[in-house]
């Protein structure tokens, strides 16, 4: 690869923020790759980094295989079993049995991801999709900040 902006080819900095609102339908993953791509395209930035940041502590991000839906079903079930909602010793349960498990499943996955941008495209691998991972049982409107920084 070894592409990029170097030497005499320097540019001025550009920073572009945008917010994706995602309406979830309760627990599960929602792909946002296309929406991040649209924001990158609109930014006009050709070389740099896209930062994806979820503004919540009861949902998270994961860059996951986007081909076979069974991979995501197993992902959901694994986290359901790793952090069970009927854990008897949880104290933080004021919002219900999915309250504390949501925070823990978030802590075990990601809040921010940084994805390289070259020639106006994210350098995702063939099978990589960017997903919001909703951990609450109820539907929620979630906010994800997408920041494109570069030149």
């Amino acid at each position: 690869m070894a592409s990029g902006i170097t030497g005499s080819d320097v540019k001025s900095l550009q920073v572009q923020h945008d917010t994706i609102e995602v309406q979830t339908r309760g627990k599960g993953t929602v792909e946002i790759t296309g929406r991040v791509r649209d924001i990158l395209k609109a930014s006009g930035i050709t070389e740099g980094v896209v930062t994806v940041f979820v503004r919540h502590t009861s949902c998270s991000l994961v860059i996951m295989e986007n081909a076979d839906p069974s991979a995501r079903r197993d992902l959901h079930e694994f986290f359901d079993r790793l952090v069970p909602e009927d854990t008897p010793w949880f104290q933080h349960t004021s919002e219900g049995p999915d309250d504390m498990p949501s925070h823990l499943r978030m802590a075990l996955t990601r809040t921010s991801e940084s994805i390289p941008v070259s020639s106006s495209r994210m350098l995702l691998g063939t099978w990589q999709g960017i997903f919001l991972f909703e951990h609450r049982r109820a539907a929620h409107l979630r906010e994800i900040v997408v920041t494109v920084m570069g030149g």
Copy 2:
């Protein structure tokens, strides 16, 4: 949102590093949100990204709910149980029973986080706080590098 610096509004790049020293009191979480905010403010950078990076492999970062302390108590206990200190097959125990669990709890959480900055403010959600997650039993002085990059 759709704020940012674009088109004719480009700026020159600024990069500002600063180190936060955190004195921990053994296992648990210590909030550093205010100290990151102070570094951002001092940098004078209005649009960009803050990178928070912990320089250790036996403590980590987590962006966690900052309102109800019971959420953090459950977080601590969950990781104590997920990676028990009395795991009989651990080989890496030269620094005691909390040695290997510290590395594993670190690997399961985060070493770096990237947080968008717009209009001189981090775009954290209402309930999000940035925490150092100490995994060793003994008190430690920890170093976290905060980098503000933008314009």
Copy 3:
């Protein structure tokens, strides 16, 4: 520390991407710190952030202790036990018993890391190494994008 580029000392933006190809020998960790350092050095960028991004969903990144190999052996075994290959309820098994465990071990660790750069050096801690974490049983050729952005 408090180093950096500020005030009248602003620079033009530089972005440099490069791809590291890592030949794995099946499950385990492969250190890439030296190769990231070489890319940083070649970029000529002195202040900024290095983003390391793995372009796969069945291997991941971890910044781990690089001194005692027993720490990494325990890391491997821990993830083998946390996500067992003989889990009976996995549906996503078309590529074998290590297929779904690979995705889950990836989701539990990291896809991207952001590391501060000051005075042409990554501000890694003394014991921190950057590792590719291969989760598949078979040898694979993996791609990691290293992006140096700064001035």
